[in-house]
Amino acid sequence: MTALISTMVEAWSELRIHKTRVLLALIGVALSVAVLTTVVGVGNLTREGMRVDSERNGGREATLGVSVYADPSAAQAPDADRTASVLEATVKRYGFTHASRVTQAQGRFQFPSGVQSVQLTVVDPAYGAIHRVDIAQGGWFAEDDADRLAPAVVVNDAFYAAAGRPNLATAPQVTVLGSNKATAVIIGVMPNRYPEEMPQAFMLTAAAQAVGAAEQMPGMGPELRIWVPAGMAEQLVSVLNADLAQQLPGAQVSVHRSDYAAYGDPFAMVQLMVSGVAALILLLGAVGLLNISMVTVRYRVREIGIRRSFGATSGRIFTGVMMESVVGTTVAGAVGVMIAVAVVKNPWVESKVAPGLEDYPAFPVEAALLGLGAAVLVGALAGAIPALVAIRVKVIDAIRF
């Protein structure tokens, strides 16, 4: 223990004596670590933003899409009711907790400015969880919303604006012009996902059928979306394909993954490139530090010789030179990580990097640990080579250097 403490005392003394050189070397390391950690942190934020965006489009990992089409060559194809009942029974039999029918359609609504046809997505309540629906006001559908006499609708902000932004608590009505004219109740408002987004509405399947609101888009049949454990997705695809094909003779069944991770991690390449850039930056910092360390050790040959004449063993000299480097880079690494946290958690940066996110994730601990670990590693590597040079110094020559 005394040897360790005395080595640290010696290392600290060296850092103090050579503070200008140390500071210059460590500024480079601190900046490298800051850039490395920032790149990883921003990359993580970007990835999270892209993932959330992808989940809103294609569903969470792993979401299966089940489509059933009439086979034109078949003598007899199952009708829509038969298909619906088979799908419903299959969901129950497999015990899927998150499943939603999804139909893309056009719905006509009466707005203050006139009647407007908008994109209407007819869904079941589980759609909200599967597609990570974000609600700015009100809420998403609950199971009992299907029992409402006035059908519930969830709309986007463009729809809400077109409807005159009615107060959701007191006058949330909007008129649906389906086969039956009905007054719907806006129960939730989603933020627009991008500027200039067109009005969009969601309605529960039962309610849409009741009011005849959904004009199904040509070629767009109903689809069943099921959120399943990622590890079972591939197996379920083949099992469901076979199962449904057997239950629905005369129909073409397609079970496929619709989520972003269906064909592997789409962010892996981005992450790899980002990591490569970060590693290159760190390498540059390390080379700078190594360069300064080598010059310093050569400058300190005489001092090392003098220390060895006092009884410093080669191991002690090695540890001392290494420790100076590691102690310095650890401090620089901590500073670099703090700079990175300040940059990545800046609200302006967050809003620009991941505009789709409502709640920004905490600064990734792994990025902080990576930055700090990289700093220690750089310190060890940049210290090891000069330390090896130091212990090879011949005492006699060094004293006369």
Binding site: S13, R308, A312, T313
Partner: protein
């Protein structure tokens, strides 16, 4: 002024010394501290020829001895000093330190033995720049045992007081005169209470008066501590102070006891 060599942790400096080894009886005053037996040192030159720096050197140094070794430049004085200080090993022959053949010791063991038993005083002082006088003096204690390490500042101040520089403990070397710097170097060499003090031209960078004062101090402290003092010099006055004198000529060491100093040095300053 209280002697610093009377503090109670008498054995601290040697706690680490050759753990597991079996040195000769340290209490035997007649046993030499350093015993060189037919030591040679040679190096191979670029053209594969051997350069013999030391040839068959026999030398015994006992605790309390004050020895001067004189010789021309290039005669092998510093090589002999390096071997005595365990900084170098003989090419052949044997060197016993406290009865133990140093050739058998590993590099690290030699380093520890050097730290605990040998103090160096260099011609150019070799103080570490950027450190105060006290920090320089306590540097050897960073490599010492637990007790000495934790008491390093106390021990450092005691020895600085002994060399008359306690008031300049916080001064950096470049603010000290040559004589003061050499006194700091002496304090640093003695702070671990070595049994052998090796001084390489200790007055070489000083004027005559300052050199005499430094040698007075070195002699006094060496005598007081009972350490052996080996001085390598070509300064007549410094050589004259030694009780035992040797002359090194072309790598051959010869005893000059009983000879007039000027005769011993004849040819050295020529």
């Amino acid at each position: 002024m209280t002697s610093i060599f009377t503090h109670d942790d008498e054995d601290i400096a040697n706690e680490e010394y050759l753990a597991g080894e079996s040195p000769a009886d340290n209490n035997d005053d007649s046993a030499p501290l350093v015993d060189l037996r037919n030591v040679t040192r040679s190096v191979v030159l670029a053209d594969d020829q051997q350069l013999h720096i030391l040839r068959g050197v026999d030398l015994q140094i006992r605790v309390g001895d004050h020895t001067a070794i004189v010789g021309r430049s290039g005669c092998g004085k510093s090589t002999l000093l390096n071997i005595l200080g365990l900084l170098d090993v003989p090419s052949s022959g044997q060197m016993l330190f406290d009865g133990t053949p140093v050739e058998r010791l590993r590099s690290n063991t030699r380093a520890k033995l050097r730290g605990s038993s040998i103090g160096f005083v260099f011609q150019q002082f070799n103080l570490l720049p950027g450190r105060t006088a006290l920090e320089n003096v306590v540097t050897p204690l960073l490599y010492a045992g637990r007790k000495e390490f934790w008491r390093r500042n106390t021990l450092g101040m005691e020895i600085l007081d002994r060399v008359g520089l306690a008031a300049r403990a916080g001064t950096q070397p470049h603010m000290l005169s040559g004589g003061e710097q050499q006194r700091v170097a002496i304090a640093r060499a003695l702070v671990r209470r070595p049994r052998l003090i090796l001084a390489d031209e200790p007055t070489g960078a000083l004027d005559v008066e300052t050199g005499q004062a430094v040698m007075d101090l070195l002699d006094t402290i060496a005598t007081e501590s009972g350490a052996a003092l080996v001085t390598i010099t070509h300064d007549l006055n410094v050589a004259a102070r030694a009780r035992t004198r040797y002359r090194l000529d072309a790598g051959v060491l010869s005893s000059s006891d009983g000879m007039p100093v000027n005769d011993v040095l004849m040819g050295v300053s020529a």
